[in-house]
């Protein structure tokens, strides 16, 4: 007998003669306490994210590339990992050309194995898109893909994330429903709610444990 059948048989024996519990999931318990007026969603998300050391800026779609440049220059960073195959990537590259911005633009265009050393140690910052935000918990939803692979939001000490104001949902349940997650998830879906941190020594908060030390969220108004 295999381990699999031994385990399953034991469990089935334990349930002999019983029927499954009904599904009494009450969605109001995870939605009603976490509903916000549209104008309050961003405020809520902002205050929660700022409470965990996230820098948040609200700006227009025209303004943000210049802000990225400023953020990098203020910090004296020498490069930025971006995704040229995305719409925001193209917009960023465009700005970089026009303004002759100094930091080098790096592209994640080969398998991680081909440039692990460089990616792990020498990339200063990255910029990625998000597929939405969650007001209740102050979270970003990241859906890594070929253009913006998983490690892009994890390895560089500074991660800049773009969030469309119109894509902020009240709560996780609402986000799941709206984007119909149960119909198909990517290989790796992420909720990110701040820079990497730890409180493992004396419960003292320290940022930049293994992932980004800094998270900057640029909230793009639709205007």
């Amino acid at each position: 007998m295999s381990a699999r059948s031994n385990i399953l048989n034991k469990l089935r024996a334990g349930l002999a003669g019983t029927s499954p519990r009904p599904d009494d999931f009450d969605e109001s318990l995870v939605t009603r306490p976490w509903q916000y007026a549209p104008e309050d969603r961003i405020t809520r998300l902002r205050s929660l994210m700022e409470a965990v050391h996230t820098e948040v800026h609200q700006l227009t779609r025209a303004e943000w590339p210049a802000r990225v440049q400023l953020l990098l220059e203020q910090r004296g960073l020498s490069n930025l990992l971006y995704a040229p195959g995305t719409e925001h990537g193209r917009q960023l590259a465009e700005h970089w050309r026009h303004s002759a911005a100094k930091p080098d633009l790096l592209v994640y265009d080969r398998p991680v194995e081909d440039w692990k050393e460089e990616l792990f140690w020498n990339v200063d910052a990255s910029i990625t898109g998000t597929v939405g935000g969650i007001a209740a918990t102050g979270s970003l939803v990241l859906w890594p893909d070929r253009h913006e692979p998983r490690l892009m939001s994890l390895l560089p000490p500074l991660h800049i994330a773009l969030l469309r104001a119109s894509e902020v949902e009240d709560n996780l349940y609402g986000m799941m429903q709206k984007q119909n997650w149960s119909a198909g998830l990517p290989t790796n879906l992420l909720l990110v709610s701040g820079p990497s941190k730890t409180a493992d020594i004396e419960q003292v908060l320290a940022y930049g444990a293994h992932g980004p030390k800094e998270l900057v969220v640029l909230i793009l108004e639709d205007a």
């Binding site: 002999a16 003669g17 019983t18 029927s19 519990r21 009904p22």
Partner: protein, 275 residues
């Protein structure tokens, strides 16, 4: 929602019991039974007598069946189910007369109200009587507050006290709330909070002798926070905690002491310095 009772099989997966609804209280009865509890019986009998006096003061006739003994809790918490059941059955038979049962101890009241159901889980017929007893059982402060709706005049001198509530009394009977409210009716009594008030005093019945070092550390912390609360004495509605806390204080040669809430209350409302 018949689905709530979807499955009567004994091996069916369990869910937590529904949250207890706030208890509804009857009008003041003419007579009650006092279940004294074994610890009060032997070590704090004056507290039991003061409980009787407090009830009589409300115009209630109190019965004290001489056949009563222990509620069965020590054996139950030690894992001796059969032994607990035999003793519990004796008390159940004794109290099977429809009278309200008042208990000057939250943990013993909790035994009647909550744990007898588990003790007699395999006896459907007994369970009906167990439920009936549970319905009629009141912890003393709860009974004075919600059934007697006492209206007291505080005849004592101004004083400052700390209130300790046993864990089972707190979590099974809400005794801390009842006792606080009762004490709040006494104009000259200031109740002071103490550090880690909701934490266990370390008694836990046989725990105190099976794990004396851990239990000792707990009671040492408890007595320290009580002493540092600014209160001149501690009151509690549970004999077990009282035995534990006072025994520890005496061992430490501290002057600070606790006493049973029933005695404290009787002293305040009767004007007699009894115990």
């Amino acid at each position: 929602m018949s689905e709530l009772f979807y499955d009567a099989a004994p091996n069916a997966t369990r869910v937590a019991p529904e949250r207890a609804k706030p208890r509804t209280y009857p009008a003041r009865p003419e007579e009650v039974t006092l279940f004294g509890t074994c610890v009060v019986d032997l070590f704090f009998p004056e507290a039991g007598l003061d409980a009787i006096r407090l009830l009589e003061r409300e115009g209630i006739r109190v019965h004290f069946p001489q056949e009563q003994a222990c509620c069965g809790q020590p054996a139950w918490t030690s894992g001796y189910v059969n032994e607990a059941r035999e003793v519990a059955r004796a008390q159940l038979n004794l109290l099977d007369n429809g009278l309200p049962v008042v208990v000057p101890s939250g943990s013993c009241a909790g035994m009647f109200r909550q744990h007898y159901r588990e003790v007699f889980a395999d006896e459907p017929d007994t369970l009906k009587r167990v439920d009936d007893l549970a319905e009629r059982t009141y912890e003393l402060t709860e009974f004075l507050l919600h059934v007697c709706k006492v209206d007291w005049q505080d005849l004592g001198q101004p004083t400052r006290i700390a209130l300790h509530t046993s864990c089972s009394a707190r979590r099974e009977m809400n005794t801390h709330l009842h006792a606080r409210e009762l004490l709040g009716k006494l104009a000259n009594v200031t109740r002071l909070d103490h550090d880690h008030e909701s934490e266990c005093c370390g008694f836990g019945g046989t725990f105190s002798v099976r794990m004396p070092e851990v239990s000792g550390a707990m009671v040492l912390d408890k007595t320290r926070s009580l002493r540092e609360s600014g209160a001149v004495e501690m009151v509690t509605a549970d004999g077990g905690c009282l035995l534990n806390i006072n025994g520890s204080l005496e061992k430490q040669h501290q002057a600070f002491r606790g006493r049973h809430l029933a005695s404290f209350l009787w002293e305040r409302v009767s004007g007699e310095a009894m115990s």
